[in-house]
């Protein structure tokens, strides 16, 4: 009799411990307990936007808020961090996740992990009106070594340019997108490169008829951004993906991002598995 009880007891214990992988990750537990998640955003409208009272909105934070709500974390605290500083911030766990247009790129996958893509879009240039240097692709910039372009350090556009033959000393880095547009207006650079919707939003706000938008840029992949997490947060990432899938399934995802100009179908065919090597 004793043996049978012992057997059942150990069986139940095994069953119970097997359930641990179905329980919440430590990260999610912690976030639920404190009631909010700290999210890094870059303040690049319409990916992320800061209102006059400091409230953070925009396509990426709104999606993150909705997803976190499903997971039971009611609030979002945003930290404005430049793209180049997002990865160190995640590694140091200064923030719980990063969103707002951080493209999924293989070299980044070595330092952080991504969720499924949430915002995909084309790339764009801003150039002087009339596009005097006839720049339609990064290769065009590379073909005219006297030209200077500006983008942000550590951004996808920088890599695109360098991969397509643009020389390192042709690139001038801006610290924040309006500075880049200013440099374009002042003739310090000949072309400004950033995400399609980001560039469009800036040009609309700047309202300068001497500038022109070139979109989409051919020869570069559609840039897909996802939420990014610390490398150890594999379980949290899985939870996030499940909640994101739910959001997409109910159509709420589309309802959130489309007013910002993003397209829900663009993300449909993409997966971080194809963009990150080794299925990270």
């Amino acid at each position: 009799m004793k043996k049978i009880i012992l057997f059942f007891a150990s069986f139940l214990i095994l069953l119970g411990s097997a359930n641990v992988s179905f329980a919440e990750s430590d990260t999610l537990k912690r976030l639920k307990k404190q009631g909010y998640a700290t999210v890094a955003v870059a303040n690049e409208p319409p990916y992320s936007d800061i209102k006059t009272d400091g409230y953070v909105t925009g396509a990426a934070p709104d999606v993150a808020r909705a997803v976190l709500n499903i997971l039971g974390v009611p609030d979002l605290k945003a930290e404005v961090i430049m793209y180049g500083a997002m990865i160190p911030a995640l590694q140091a766990r200064r923030v719980d996740m990063a969103t707002s247009g951080l493209y999924i790129k293989p070299d980044r996958c070595e330092s952080i992990i991504y969720s499924e893509p949430d915002l995909c879009g084309a790339e764009a240039f801003a150039v002087p009106a009339g596009n005097p240097n006839n720049l339609l692709t990064y290769e065009d910039i590379a073909a005219q070594p006297a030209l200077k372009m500006t983008t942000c350090a550590g951004c996808a556009e920088e890599k695109y340019a360098l991969e397509r033959g643009v020389k390192a000393d042709q690139i001038v880095y801006f610290d924040t997108p309006p500075s880049g547009i200013k440099m374009l207006q002042q003739g310090r650079v000949d072309v400004f490169a950033l995400s399609g919707l980001g560039t469009q939003d800036l040009l609309n706000k700047t309202n300068d008829s001497n500038l022109e938008l070139v979109m989409p840029i051919s020869g570069v992949p559609i840039g897909c951004a996802g939420a990014a997490f610390n490398m150890d947060d594999i379980e949290f990432r899985a939870e996030y993906n499940m909640a994101l899938a739910k959001l997409k399934a109910t159509g709420e995802f589309a309802a959130i991002i489309e007013p910002y100009g993003f397209s829900a179908e663009a993300t449909a065919g993409e997966s971080y598995l194809t963009r990150c090597p080794d299925g990270k």
Binding site: G84, I87, P88, D107, S111, A153, G154, E158, V172, Y173, F174, D175, S179, K182, M183, Q185, Q186, G187, R188
Partner: protein, 219 residues
């Protein structure tokens, strides 16, 4: 995270280019700061109350506001008003003007330290303003001013990383750009820090020696 010599040697060429820019910027900015500072000091001795008032509040405004913001204004805003400078020129101008407000004080103190009798003697010898300054006042005023002026040279050298904010690729920015592209922060930043140290510490020693040599002799 351990030190990687591979990364260190990889970033070195970029850093070397940055060092050249840093040294150039320091040199040109200092000259501007000295010349402008001397001019301000002399102007401040003017009899015109209005001139002194304007000079005082202008220099105070420059001195009490951050160099970084001044850099942003000269680089991004002035062109809208038709005043366009290259990034390097912007940086040198701002550094030079900002520190001229400090060197002006050094010049003023040095000039004040010249005994009043010297001015009177020069007048009795019928020297005009130019001769007074050139032959009597400045030769006595300048030696004690050299140590603090040398200190400001070193200070300006250490402020050059701020120029990175307006796209001047001096040493710090060279390292920062490398870090942002390769996600390696340890080696570039350490090398930058080391470089500043190996320039500053001998300079501090030289400055101390200068101070001993130019110890003020009261007349």
């Amino acid at each position: 995270m351990y030190w990687s010599w591979e990364v260190a040697f990889d970033v070195l060429p970029q850093l070397a280019k940055g060092v050249v820019v840093t040294i150039q910027a320091t040199f040109v900015a200092s000259i501007l700061a000295y010349v402008l500072g001397l001019g301000i000091a002399i102007l401040k001795m003017s009899k015109s109350k209005i001139l002194r008032f304007v000079l005082y509040w202008t220099t105070e405004f420059i001195r009490r506001t951050p160099i970084l913001v001044q850099l942003y204004v000269v680089f991004y805003v002035l062109p809208d008003f038709g005043i366009f400078f290259e990034a390097f020129t912007c940086g040198v101008l701002v550094l030079g003007i900002h520190f001229s407000t400090y060197t002006a004080e050094v010049f003023r103190a040095g000039i004040d330290n010249v005994h009043k009798g010297q001015w009177e003697a020069a007048k009795s010898l019928n020297y005009n303003q130019y001769q007074t300054w050139k032959n009597v006042i400045l030769p006595q005023a300048i030696p004690p001013m050299i140590p603090p002026l040398a200190n400001y040279l070193i200070t300006m050298f250490k402020e050059t990383p701020l120029l990175a904010a307006i796209t001047v690729v001096e040493l710090f920015r060279a390292a920062d750009q490398y870090s942002n592209s390769h996600y390696k922060y340890l080696e570039p930043m350490t090398l930058v820090g080391v470089f500043f140290l190996i320039v500053s510490i001998p300079s501090a020693i030289i400055a101390m020696k200068l101070e001993k040599r130019f110890k003020q002799r009261k007349i």
